[in-house]
Symmetry: C2
Subunit: 399 residues, 2 copies
């Protein structure tokens, strides 16, 4: 039997999805599960977007240009220029979800063995994209005590080597929900200019900023035009995760042309996804206002509820729809599995993502979990009750 590759062995399983078999088993046994493990919102997709899909009128379901249709890129440009990105349609490559944009950027910017610095905890699949591209992730730790703020520039400089090619951030952050401040972004700018590094900015959660806080993209920072690569997606903004439409944006022309070659190899993103994505840009502001109100209320419920449980600590994040909470437990992987396999409260339980999968440093985050507040408040409250009851009897509890 031929051997699989070492890369295949090294490839990490998704920490968000790896507990799925236990969840399936729990469901089979009749348990109700509150899914706080995955960033799949329950919010309805804008009607304008679904209607565009229902009203497609092509007869031949054809390829589009590899960089996406001119029509969609024009419309996206409108959207981005309303938030002052000052870009052209020729700065955009439409991708199969934000995931593909990240993979393309890693491959176009980094050779095998070269390094990207990422504050951890970070979106777990960055490990997968790096592994598949033979790129090395150099994590620098951010701390729950200050809400996972950007580590100091000195911490970045400690790990910069002659192999460092890029810094990657996710803003607002998945998994922590932290929203980087203007000062933090300015500091990153100076660092990238000083060491001539690419700055990858994953902005999947751009629309989800709370408490009137300002979202700052590196696209807003002058002088960084050749360094910035933005990753975006319709997944979260329009609750359209299953459309698999994202994009890569860069004003660096050489990088754009290089990224385009990777895009050409896989031919094109989906036609119907782009049609729907184009329609989505006209989603009325009222949709986002309602969504923002709903998420703010959910966050408040979840954060308050978590901190009310003995031994639990959860910072109050400024964006996205995740929190990372510290629990009084020995091991989050064990605990999350135990919640599915061995626990129920009134025949209900909660599925969470162990935070260990969001760290690259071995041993980090062992008593932390990520919770996505993608359920309504009633369900969130029931999930909180489950969690509280579980922590009272979990054999590996530390208080």
């Amino acid at each position: 039997m031929p051997k699989i590759s070492q890369k295949g062995i090294d490839m990490p399983a998704s920490p968000i999805r790896k507990l799925t078999p236990y969840a399936d088993q729990a469901k089979k046994s009749g348990k109700k599960i509150y899914h706080l493990n995955i960033g799949q919102p329950d919010i309805e997709t804008p009607e304008i977007m679904l209607n565009a899909l229902k009203n497609i009128d092509f007869k031949v379901w054809a390829y589009t240009p590899s960089e996406g249709t001119a029509s969609y890129r024009n419309k996206l440009t409108e959207y981005y220029n309303k938030i002052n990105y000052n870009i052209q349609p020729t700065d955009i490559i439409v991708t199969n979800g934000g995931s593909e944009a990240i993979t393309i950027a890693m491959q176009a910017c980094l050779n095998p063995g070269e390094e990207v610095i990422i504050p951890e905890p970070f979106y777990a699949n960055y490990n997968g994209f790096a592994c598949s591209s033979d790129v090395v992730v150099k994590p620098i730790i951010s701390y729950i005590d200050n809400g996972f703020a950007l580590p100091s520039i000195a911490e970045f400089e400690k790990v910069i080597t002659d192999k460092t090619r890029a810094i990657a951030i996710c803003n607002p952050n998945n998994p922590t929900g932290y929203l980087y401040s203007r000062e933090e972004m300015e500091a990153l700018k100076e660092l990238c200019l000083k060491y001539d590094l690419f700055l990858f900015s994953d902005e999947a959660y751009r629309e989800f900023c709370y408490d009137g806080k300002e979202f700052i993209s590196p696209m807003h920072l002058e002088g960084l035009e050749n360094h910035v690569v933005v990753f975006d997606t319709v997944s979260k903004r329009y609750s359209a995760c299953g459309a698999r439409i994202g994009c890569l944006i860069t004003k660096n022309k050489e990088l754009y042309q290089t990224a385009l070659k990777f895009a050409q190899a896989r031919l094109s993103p989906s036609l119907e996804g782009q049609i729907a994505g184009e329609a989505a840009v006209d989603t009325p502001d009222s949709y986002f206002q309602a969504v923002s109100q709903e998420y703010t209320a959910r966050r408040d419920t979840l954060v308050k509820g978590l901190n009310a449980i003995e031994g639990v600590f959860c910072p109050n994040p400024g964006g996205a729809f995740y929190v990372v909470a510290q629990l009084p437990i020995d091991n989050a992987d064990k605990f999350c599995q135990w919640m599915l396999e061995s626990f129920d409260y009134e025949n209900e339980t909660v599925m969470m993502a162990p935070a260990t999968g969001f760290y690259s440093t071995p041993g980090a985050g062992t008593n932390e979990v990520r919770l996505a507040y993608v359920l309504n408040q009633d369900d969130l409250n029931k999930a909180l009750t489950c969690l509280q009851k579980a922590l009272e009897i979990y054999p590996g509890r530390t208080i």
Copy 2:
């Protein structure tokens, strides 16, 4: 300015799409172009598939499982078992087009620097997938004189080293249209067993076999279960290139679990694409009969027309919808560009793909082009007239 990667520099531009700027310019100047350069059929997508898309009734456009929905994989299994693949739904991973299936298999089976043997000319984007995976393509040449039949097993053995991990074929072949015989497939089986190699079988054109010839998949060969990886797509079968739905099939459980980790990193294929793909499996046989008749007639027109032009040689292929033809020219890249930039016949011209892009050996295929017979016969005849007139006056003609 930060440097792009060497991998990015090495990444090949698509030979099928790289002449697009010249085509755009020609169109702007008012020329009509017959597009024989790209495998984008003009055949209508089955109504049953488009209706499924128009009738979607979800409210939340959600992720699906990373391996695809159970419902779609069940339906696909019906399709494959009708053609005697004898598979389970758990042998299938649904992918973003066939392209992603190939990339995942390369990464799951080959480490950087390891080798895959591919008879050339081959589908140009294999070079791109290999480059992005740091995999080395070892080409062995097939010849236009015998219609691009499988090279002898001795030729394969000449290039097998301790780094060889896989053989890849495309059957029926893109770009040559060659359909591998049962004897050729049996010979490949013995070779893969002897050297314990994976056999990658790209079957995008499975439904396009002509003259009553039999299609043989390595899935039909007993004893090769742990070696075979099939790549498939809805793109050509249902003229649905823009849906970006494909799949990877393997009965090798270890490889399946490894490939799944790569699939998990990018979360899921598109939901609506899978819904439409599931509906497409019920496309009536009459659709395929009509399509097959149409392509056979087109092939006959094109092959006959090409061989009637002085100095042109084109074998008569048994499948797919491509031919590779030898032209009396100095250089196919120059010629194809000249056709767009400097030539017209009654304000019309033809866009073709230079065959050099389908070879990995430098200098091979310099007087060959690939033509896709994706236009109706009337247009094909007009394109043939253009080509004949062009070859009479092209400055680099060799007769």
